[in-house]
């Protein structure tokens, strides 16, 4: 028990469990907020580009790939859908998804000393980092939407769908990131396996290809993967009728819940075994 939580525990004992939960939630919000500020400060501190890099990195990677595809005209051309924009909006969420999961073990390891403060839980450290990544990708996505709107003269089809897709993607990546971090903390072999697994999962992710252009039997297989639904959602939000899409929000939500509960449980299981 640290100073505040002890005081608050005494105060909250009377009003009952609900008040305690609310207080705990407020504490956690405060801690995550402080961690986000700290993360931003340290990124600014290392070099001037530090913070900008958060936005530039995904934008540059997605942009480079999109230019490549456009220049070489790879992929089936879909009427009314630019390959450049298609690749940009497909690869950017995928890039964030991959980055969150593959960086989660490192985030945990490099921030172990934060756990000296009892206020800070393992989850808060990961949550703060992921929230920043999420803010970055939404900002970059907004820039792309505006850019395509202004220069390409094509407004996005459905912004709420686009936004929901990105949030679901973040939540899915967050849950998987928690599992990856817990796995890496308990076994070195598991840590080594994370990267290859992420790369091998690219063809199954449905990220870089529209499910509409696939053979229905292959499409059925890919639709087992909630990630494929999410990429379809993002593209639906962007292209709408110009590109038929296949997704089911309920199915994705179910998997988001499963993955997050498993992630939390894994983190909780691994916490007592951490050595400092």
């Amino acid at each position: 028990m640290s100073a505040t939580s002890w005081g608050e525990r005494r105060a909250a004992a009377a009003p009952g469990e609900f008040a305690r939960t609310v207080r705990g939630f407020r504490n956690q919000l405060r801690v995550v907020h402080a961690l986000i500020l700290r993360e931003m400060q340290t990124r600014f501190g290392r070099n001037q580009l530090g913070f900008l890099w958060l936005f530039l990195e995904p934008l540059m990677l997605a942009g480079a790939l999109a230019t490549l595809k456009w220049a070489m005209s790879i992929g089936d051309s879909i009427p009314g859908v630019s390959i450049f924009v298609f690749t940009l909006v497909s690869y950017l969420p995928y890039f964030t998804f991959r980055a969150i999961i593959s960086r989660a073990p490192g985030t945990l390891r490099s921030n172990m000393t934060l756990l000296y403060h009892q206020q800070i839980k393992l989850l808060d450290v990961v949550l703060a980092r992921h929230a920043l990544e999420m803010a970055a990708v939404i900002t970059v996505m907004a820039l792309i939407v505006i850019g395509v709107w202004v220069w390409g003269d094509t407004p996005p089809w459905n912004i709420p769908i686009l936004f929901t897709g990105l949030v679901l993607l973040f939540l899915l990546a967050h849950g998987l990131g928690l599992m990856a971090a817990a796995a890496a903390a308990s076994s070195e072999i598991a840590e080594r396996l994370i990267h290859p697994l992420i790369y091998l999962s690219l063809p199954l992710s449905g990220a870089l290809i529209s499910l509409h252009t696939l053979d229905p039997s292959i499409r059925e297989v890919l639709l087992w993967n909630p990630q494929a639904h999410i990429h379809e959602m993002v593209r639906e939000g962007f292209f709408g009728d110009r590109l038929p899409s296949y997704f089911h929000i309920g199915y994705v939500t179910f998997w988001v819940a499963v993955v997050n509960l498993l992630g939390l449980a894994a983190l909780r299981a691994v916490r007592p075994r951490l050595e400092f």
């Binding site: 028990m1 100073a3 002890w6 405060r30 700290r38 000296y116 403060h117 800070i120 075994r273 400092f276």
Partner: protein, 216 residues
């Protein structure tokens, strides 16, 4: 009160060997105790401090904290090297829900870092680092402070300031301290315990404890 109830802790070494830190230890630390912990290098003093602070978990048994306990103060721990002393103070104020600028002033007042308060912590000397860390911890209001060698690199003036603070404003607070300097143990503590081969032996008399430790 901190209650250790049948606490065991070991680290796995190469092969099947185990290094014992604590074996089935039961002990109580009461409010206002001033306890020095003595032990050879590698005996597990820092691990014990981390367990008392709730950072690391025992393999068996239970540690119950019935009073607020500070984070274990050890060199370079609990602060971020790339951030300034002031920013570190702000961060700690935020996570513990304290007024931010008040905390910065309190830390600076105690640690006397002057202009270094706005410099990245990795530019600090060892002595400045320990002043900042003690400043951060003592600015907070804990029932029990855990100090792991953090006083070891402080100069005489700073030791006196720390002692003064612990004798006045923090008079009723408990203190658990690890130090290789017998003189610091004598300055800050009233009782002591020796950690050796996983056994924690308590001594009511400081001189007896120090003599036993030196004979190990």
């Amino acid at each position: 009160m901190i209650i250790l109830d049948g606490v065991s802790k070991y680290y796995r070494m190469r092969g099947r060997a185990q290094r014992w830190i604590l074996r089935d230890t039961t002990a109580v630390i009461r409010p206002g105790d001033r306890l020095g912990i003595l032990g050879r290098n590698g005996a597990g003093k820092s691990t014990l401090m981390r367990m008392l602070g709730g950072v690391e978990y025992p393999n068996a048994g239970r540690i119950e904290r019935r009073m607020s306990v500070s984070w274990p103060l050890a060199h370079g721990i609990g602060v971020h090297g790339a951030l300034s002393g002031a920013d570190n103070a702000r961060f700690i104020a935020r996570i513990y829900g304290r007024p931010v600028e008040e905390m910065v002033d309190a830390v600076n007042e105690f640690a006397e870092l002057g202009g270094y308060m706005d410099m990245p912590v990795h530019t600090y000397s060892a002595g400045m680092m320990s002043r900042l860390q003690l400043g951060l911890s003592l600015a907070m209001d804990f029932d029990c402070y855990l100090i792991d060698e953090a006083t070891s690199v402080g100069d005489q003036r700073f030791i006196e300031r720390t002692q003064h603070r612990l004798e006045t404003r923090l008079r009723s607070r408990a203190l658990i301290m690890v130090s290789h300097h017998s003189s610091h143990i004598r300055t800050f503590c009233r009782t002591a315990a020796i950690l050796h081969d996983g056994i924690l032996t308590f001594f009511e008399d400081l001189d007896e404890a120090i003599a036993t430790y030196e004979a190990l």
